[in-house]
Amino acid sequence: MPSTRPSGSERWWLPWLAPTLTLAAGLIFWGAGEQFLAGAAVGLSALGFYGVHSLRARLAQAEAARQLMDERLLTTQKLAAIGELAAGISHEINNPLAIIRQEAEWLEELLKGARFQDQAQLLEFRESLQEIILAVERAREVTGKVLELARERQPVIQKLDLNRLLEDMARLVEHEARKKNIVIERRFALDLPPVESDGPLLRQAVLNLLTNAYQAIEDRGTITLTSSWAGPDHVKIAIRDTGVGIPPEMLDKIFLPFFTTKPPGTGTGLGLAITQTIIHRLGGTLSVASQPKHGTTFTIVLPLSWEPQEQRA
């Protein structure tokens, strides 16, 4: 038998230690017949038992902390691995998708010269081809987003007028928001200096969050778009909605790729994952606070001046 055990069961003897000691002490002092000593021994072993007990509690605590760290590390590694795998698969799937689309379009062309005895049959044929093309597009949207998530795009840094950027994106969403009776309220700090960041990336992130906000509101509500200082060298963008909110047990999952609360086929579950990746690339942070039935606030904090991060391995 090897003398080493797996690390998980190293402390297998702990539960037995105290009772064994007590028993041993009891036997020794019973033999000596000394009442006093026996009492002291029982006390001592009880003390020993207590010591072991607290030691066990501390070990359990340390073990739990280690497990949590392991889990976090594992999650990060898992996500990276899954991301790579997903990107690889997406790439491979894109090729056959392109062929399916191409062939479906070719069939549409051929159909123009084809004769059918039954007109209804021709219509059905056409509709079926349209469905195929639509489904291909849906699949391409997913693969495109997965590839985007995995792509390491280096930001191109320019001086940006943050409020201008927020205003532009608000206007883009406003039209659609109005149809659901949603008002977009702006609260911009007017003393913000230009922010060094990547315009197109930041626009994409803000637009994603604004879209989420107006999708979270079923009908009638307010989206509050705020810009403000966050300390002497950071700025904050907050996007608050009065929508359905996110249950607490889901809050830590919403940034995971493919996590979605939307019905199948309507959301890819990649929007927030992409948004978070973008904000990290810009040297910022993205956080969320939510109260079910009252609404959700997403907060972006960005540095005023951007410094290249260390290249990730």
């Binding site: 206007r171 883009l172 637009l207």
Partner: protein, 129 residues
């Protein structure tokens, strides 16, 4: 600001012709074409720094044209123009690498400002490679 080359792609003749004239008046080297297909043909012959691209056009639409442009000329910056706000096409456009999204009608100064930023971005990226 130095002179740079702009391609305006819009099927509305009045809008396109006027904006090209006004951009020339601001000392930009501006050209106008009426469709996505024409834009790709023109870009294959000349280099452009910035493209202003209408989203909704008959034939090849703006999103399709944008896809093709970013594939073939990744450094050329594209500003999308839209007559009505469409979140869907906005998100798609930004994902496909559009520089910005502008709603018509847009004051010329605002558009010019975005064009300059787009051009600056192109120069930064060219410096990197």
């Amino acid at each position: 600001m130095e002179r740079f080359k702009v391609l305006v792609v819009d099927d509305e003749d009045d809008f396109r012709e006027t904006i090209v004239k006004r951009l020339k008046g601001r000392n930009l080297d501006a050209t106008g074409v009426a469709s996505g297909e024409e834009a790709l043909k023109t870009m294959a012959q000349e280099n452009f720094d910035v493209v202003v691209l209408d989203v909704r056009m008959p034939g090849m639409d703006g999103i399709e044209a944008l896809k093709e442009m970013k594939k073939r000329w990744p450094l050329t910056e594209v500003i999308m123009l839209t007559g009505h706000a469409s979140v869907e096409s906005g998100i798609q456009g930004m994902q496909l690498g559009a520089f910005d999204y502008v709603m018509k009608p847009v004051p010329l100064d605002e558009l010019l400002d975005k064009m300059r930023q787009a051009y600056e971005r192109k120069k930064i990226q060219e410096g990197k490679f």
